[in-house]
């Protein structure tokens, strides 16, 4: 019954949407003007050719600020929803779980260095090449988890590692907010660039864009690692029953 109602409704909705999209310009004919204006002004005004990074971290930086905070709120939410209740503490440490072999742990430890380098590279070149804080942050989170697996095995203890990740995540979120406020203090307008623009194509150029990338990278790395850790902790927790 329900699936028939839904099928009928979605059929109508889909048909109406199809009629609506026929009103769009045909595929391949972006009408502008927003993107075209940005493509014209960004190289001169921001000394970077990475139009997406300039959009994300400068022209539409407020969206990114909001998005960072969505990530932040979701991590706080996951931590709250998956918090270990007092009645469940018995399972902490999860004895009887297989500890990874020495070889696996050595392998994980050996990978930490290269993966971290890759992640940091992607983050700091975000204003020059595709990538940046979002994808780089996930790579760094992967390195954090590898370090974790290599160092401790899967014996997750709440104190220590999670507090550290919480700190990293909050630092990244606070970093982007601080960048926004620094624009207000140094240049009189929230989120306004206040650093030298440098020479286009150099690592230290494009003003606040790379700084924003680093803050986002920290935030994303902390957030992803923290959410993984919360879920992992739940999986290792023994049931109260």
């Amino acid at each position: 019954m329900r699936s028939f109602v839904a099928l009928a409704a979605l059929g109508v909705l889909g048909a109406v949407l199809v009629v609506a999209v026929t009103g769009l310009e045909p595929f391949g004919h972006y009408p502008g003007p927003y993107g075209d204006v940005l493509a014209k002004v960004v190289p001169d005004e921001r000394h970077t050719g990475q139009l997406v990074a300039a959009t994300v971290f400068d022209y539409r930086a407020f969206d990114t600020l909001g998005e960072e905070m969505i990530l932040f709120a979701a991590v706080c939410g996951c931590a709250a929803l998956l918090r270990v209740l007092r009645s469940e503490h018995a399972g902490e440490g999860a004895p009887g779980r297989p500890v990874p072999s020495f070889a696996a742990r050595a392998m994980a430890a050996a990978l930490v260095g290269p993966v971290t380098v890759l992640g940091v590279y992607v983050i700091v070149h975000g204003h020059l090449t595709p990538g940046g804080g979002f994808s780089g942050g996930v790579v760094v989170a992967g390195a954090l988890l590898l370090a974790y697996a290599g160092g401790q095995g899967l014996r997750l203890r709440r104190v220590g590692s999670i507090t550290l990740l919480e700190g990293t995540e909050a630092l990244g979120a606070a970093g982007f907010l601080a960048l926004a406020l620094a624009g207000l203090i140094a240049a009189g307008t929230l989120l306004k660039n206040f650093l030298a623009l440098g020479t286009s194509g150099m690592l230290l150029s494009a003003g606040t864009i790379p700084v924003g990338n680093v803050a986002v990278g920290l935030e994303v790395a902390g957030a992803v690692a923290l959410v993984f850790a919360e879920f992992l902790e739940q999986a290792l927790l023994e049931d109260p029953e």
Partner: protein, 79 residues
């Protein structure tokens, strides 16, 4: 529209449908990962490398791994 773009679009549509109709969550997690990669390929084909990289990192890795972790908890309960 290039042939590559059309192929990617059709593949994405098919994979998306497959995700919905794979009812077993564990197998679905794998299909979702492939769907995420298909989307990333499509994004590359429409000249969006930034979105493609994020999609690989988040859509094809983070979300499927979270699903697996959630399933680890849920299945352990069933035993």
């Amino acid at each position: 529209m290039t042939f590559l773009q059309a192929t990617c679009l059709v593949v994405v549509a098919l994979l998306g449908t497959l995700v919905v109709f794979t009812r077993d969550p564990l197998r679905q997690a794998a299909v979702t990962g492939i769907f995420g990669l298909g989307l990333a390929a499509l994004f590359l084909a429409v000249q969006a490398p930034d979105v493609a990289l994020s999609q690989i990192a988040i859509g094809a890795i983070v979300v499927p791994v979270l699903v697996l972790l959630a399933m680890a908890k849920i299945r352990e309960h069933d035993e």
